[in-house]
């Protein structure tokens, strides 16, 4: 078949863009691009391909950039979704330094995306929904006024309904929350158990912001007395109580009676946990747990037994009279008859703990009953558009970021494996690390070019040796208020790939922590955090094994961000 008009153009462009001479000469390069852009007779495939090639071009000046954007503007109105999305991606990437241009483009693309979301082709609809979710991560309010477009219809396939529920959950705001919740409540009684459960989890997600309304809906659902609904509702309650302590009272009132409708392990664990932690507010808690203890022999899941042990011991602390006998029986069973090692060990552990005296038990078991800061850490604040612009209009949002990471990991391993058989273990991990890191570090603003390696395992001895023979490269003081929750801090540091070597326990005075991190060039950063209680300041001392100021500044800004975030949560 002879080459046709559109193919010609694409070929010409390809040739031009790959030609080093043209690449070297910016003016010619630009001319080629402009000529191609002006060719309006391309069919949609040609247009999409041209837009893809243009991604390689970097405009020299702002003027040139806006020139190109103006030339390409008409592609945003194309009737083909492929072209519109290609143009959007190009705009987002070209305008990476102009957030208002990016926002403007995303506003323009709203119409075509929404049209694709209600398209007749299910597959297209799915891809569009995935991209809507991507945009919502950065601009939470972007689709809020169009929430009705994301209501599920009876005939849609399962995977689309699940995506729509996720989208609804993310775009909820003060104005539409009532309608969205009403719609979601309708889904909870859907014939498909999976979908019903997804809807309940979605209500649970919304409950973090709009607690009262959601808890009321969830409580009503318990009245249905259906196993698959009750178990998910109870799990949702468990997560909710942990994140939003203000709803504890309502949840405790709803719980009695649930135990009859829970059969699966997850649901039982959630219920037992709730009864253990908040048992003092639930009148019949000891008797429900007693029922569980009586049936413990027929219980098949070890996890449920472990949960039962902990819960009963916790409840024993607050209501000793009602639990003592039951606890004794359970401990006896776990130690004497249980075959699962983990459960038996847990039983023995609690037994010895009880021997140490009730005060000791209280000190160990009475951990905080809720941790609102966890929720804030979990759904990290809005991600900048630039963190996903390069993934837009690719398969990444369609797979979801997490699945894509595993896919690209095994692909990378396969590709590197056979090429470098001798240094296999080294080579396979080599090219992967930067990729992984890029994603993580990008989530933090101002991380600069620094890339911290996730699995830098430094032993305590090694740390000590290095620490002692290095000089302090940088010292800084950050504002801080109140005590430190070591777990929260450690988790937050882990997110940015900073390893905690040692840390004082909470409330110690003075409080100290030693951290280490390594970037992709092998440069080590050793850090000491020092908190003197009286002056309310966190003193940071950083040591570096290679003197590189740029990397050091990058590292300090990461550290500052983390400590700043934790500090805000505390205050």
């Amino acid at each position: 078949m002879p080459y046709l008009g559109s193919e010609d153009v694409v070929k010409e462009l390809k040739k031009a863009l790959c030609n080093p001479h043209i690449q070297a000469d910016r003016l010619r390069y630009r001319n080629v691009i402009q000529r191609v852009i002006r060719m309006s007779k391309l069919d949609q495939w040609g247009q999409a391909e041209v837009l893809y090639f243009l991604l390689r071009y970097q405009p020299r000046s702002e003027e040139e950039l806006f020139d190109i954007l103006n030339l390409l503007d008409s592609f945003l109105k194309s009737s083909s979704p492929g072209v519109v999305m290609g143009a959007t991606k190009l705009f987002l990437i070209l305008a990476k330094k102009f957030p208002h241009v990016q926002t403007d483009v995303l506003v323009q693309v709203k119409g075509p995306l929404l049209a694709a979301c209600s398209s007749e082709s299910r597959e297209l609809c799915f891809a569009a929904l995935c991209h809507v979710r991507q945009i919502l991560h950065s601009l939470p309010g972007h689709f809020s006024s169009h929430y009705k477009k994301f209501f599920c219809s009876y005939s849609e396939p399962h995977y689309i309904k699940l995506q729509k529920v996720e989208v609804l959950c993310e775009l909820v705001n003060d104005e539409n929350v009532q309608q969205v919740l009403e719609e979601l409540r309708g889904y909870c009684t859907d014939v498909s158990a999976d979908f019903a459960q997804a809807a309940i989890f979605a209500i649970g997600g919304i409950a973090r912001t709009y607690t009262d309304q959601c808890v009321q809906i969830l409580t009503e659902l318990l009245g249905l007395r259906q196993d698959h609904i009750t178990t998910v509702v109870v799990q949702t309650f468990r997560d909710l109580v942990w994140l939003c302590p203000q709803c504890t009272e309502a949840v405790c009132q709803a719980l009695p009676g649930c135990e009859e409708n829970i059969q699966d392990s997850e649901g039982k664990q959630a219920l037992i946990w709730l009864l253990g932690v908040h048992g003092e507010r639930i009148p019949n808690a000891p008797y429900v747990l007693e029922d569980f203890v009586e049936n413990v022999k027929s219980e098949t899941f070890p996890a449920v037994k472990m949960e039962l042990l902990t819960a009963l011991l916790r409840l024993f602390l607050s209501r000793p009279a009602e639990c003592q006998d039951t606890l004794g029986r359970l401990l006896y069973y776990c130690i004497e008859e249980e075959k699962d090692m983990a459960v038996r060990d847990r039983g023995l552990f609690y037994y010895r703990l009880l021997l140490a005296g009730i005060d000791e038990v209280k000190r160990i078991l009475c951990s905080p009953k809720s941790d609102p800061s966890l929720g804030l850490l979990e759904d990290q604040a809005e991600r900048p558009v630039n963190s996903w612009a390069s993934d837009f209009n690719t398969l990444v949002p369609v797979y979801g970021k997490a699945r894509w990471a595993t896919i690209s990991k095994c692909q990378g391993a396969e590709r590197c494996g056979p090429e470098l058989p001798n240094t296999a273990s080294f080579a396979t991990s080599g090219p992967l690390i930067p990729e992984e890191n890029k994603k993580r570090v990008q989530e933090l603003p101002d991380a600069g070019a620094l890339m911290l390696v996730p699995k830098c395992q430094l032993t305590a001895e090694c740390f000590e040796k290095t620490w002692l023979h290095l000089k302090v490269a940088h010292q800084q003081v950050l504002p801080w208020q109140g005590a430190v929750h070591p777990d929260t801090l450690q988790m937050a540091l882990q997110v940015v790939n900073i390893q905690t070597i040692a840390m004082s326990r909470a409330g110690a005075q003075p409080w100290k922590a030693y951290l280490s991190a390594q970037d992709d060039t092998g440069c080590l950063f050793l850090t000491e955090l020092l908190l003197e209680p009286e002056n309310l300041e966190m003193q940071i001392s950083v040591k570096q094994n290679e003197a590189r100021t740029e990397a050091l500044n990058g590292f300090i800004s990461v550290l500052e961000t983390v400590i700043g975030t934790i500090g805000e949560i505390k205050s």
Binding site: M1, L4, G5, E7, D8, V9, R35, M39, K41, D43, Q44, W45, K77, S79, S80, P81, G82, V84, M85, G86, A115, A116, S118, S119, E120, S121, R122, E123, L124, F126, A127, A128, K148, F151, S153, Y154, S155, E156, H158, Y159, L162, G186, T189, V191, D194, E220, L222, G223, L224, Q226, N393, T394, L395, V396, V398, Y399, R403, Q411, E414, R415
Partner: protein, 488 residues
Amino acid sequence: MISQFFILSSKGDPLIYKDFRGDSGGRDVAELFYRKLTGLPGDESPVVMHHDDRHFIHIRHSGLYLVATTSENISPFSLLELLSRLATLLGDYCGSLGEGTISRNVALVYELLDEVLDYGYVQTTSTEMLRNFIQTEAVVSKPFSLFDLSSVGLFGAETQQSKVAPSSAASRPVLSSRTDQSQKNEVFLDVVERLSVLIASNGSLLKVDVQGEIRLKSFLPSGSGEEFIGGSQGGVWDRLLAGVYGSIWWLSLMFFPLTEMRIGLTEEFCVGKSELRGYGPGIRVDEVSFHSSVHLDEFESHRILRLQPPQGELTVMRYQLSDDLPSPLPFRLFPSVQWDRGSGRLQVYLKLRCDLPPKSQALNVRLHLPLPRGVVSLSQELSSPEQKAELGEGALRWDLPRVQGGSQLSALFQMDVPGLPGPPGQGPSTSAPPLGLGPASLSFELPRHTCSGLQVRFLRLAFRPCGNANPHKWVRHLSHSDAYVIRI
């Protein structure tokens, strides 16, 4: 860039398999794909799947799986669009797409794929251009006859009032009969609207959404100027000439036999919330997009779309409309539910009113009402004998083959639901419906009716010398339900 393309039947049998790049392993990928598809966990989507270093992307079209594999991280939108375009293209060449037509036309399908994709890259998908390279003729199962009026379908031919085309008229290959000239000159223009509606339990309207399309299917002999424009080497000439004559297609019109089609839409057609045209409320849509081959110079003034119809199918225009509907909704449902908790007796009385104009009617109306778990028996009283109602998959289905505009139908259902708990703490109330009942959803077709009110005023063909007899023009308006949900 795609590596492989294959078509599977609904049962997973490979019908067509083509490897474009030879970079991935063999025919068994088709089998692999089907295994992955059927063994997929419930919470993962089947649209994009991954195995080794290969991504499978597929669409379902009339019961077939059209699958492409690729090893690159390409644009999902373009690829899905390409797959659906391929489906349309195969439909154009083989008649309607289906397992039978594909297996009868294997050679033709391979030939088409060869021309459309080269080494995994798209060359062209225009039916018109491909026509020059395709030699094989389609095998049609049943000889087609225009006057086979035994199955009168939905085609209301406004332009030719005495004749009605059979519903299968448009589902024949566009290019099947090179030799047979008699059947060639036909044009089908469909205005199809999909309606999704959500009505609250108190009758107030929560959501209305209309997705409309004007689709053109042309069986006219080749007439587009595309070949000339596309074939002229070097874009310089195009632009030079364009500068002289204003626009290039006009130039080609002077030398080549061309058909120009003019589609006149309702004059009161307004785009956007603020535009005002004509008298009265007009016909308002929120957004419109046109196919790139449509000339819009008369659209502003007279609402006329001009184009040179390529052979085959083409979506001329798409539009959306939400929230403001000019005409009343086609159906209203007035349910009343009686629920006696003590005896477990559930009584549902449904009254369905059709608010279409008296001359119109709705076809294949089906009401789907999910019921609480454990419904055992059903007794029914229906208002007319042609209706049917039955229980299935935890839901009630009420079928009404035909509903005349302005009419009102009712049905009374009585069910026994043993052991269903009522809403907690409300005592033996009879009014509150049990949980798990509803919402009701309706599906229907409305021939000769558009919910937005958009009509095609006229469809004119300007013929150039080569043309023979006047072509038949069929215009059809149709609305159907996408999701018409009424909460109870």
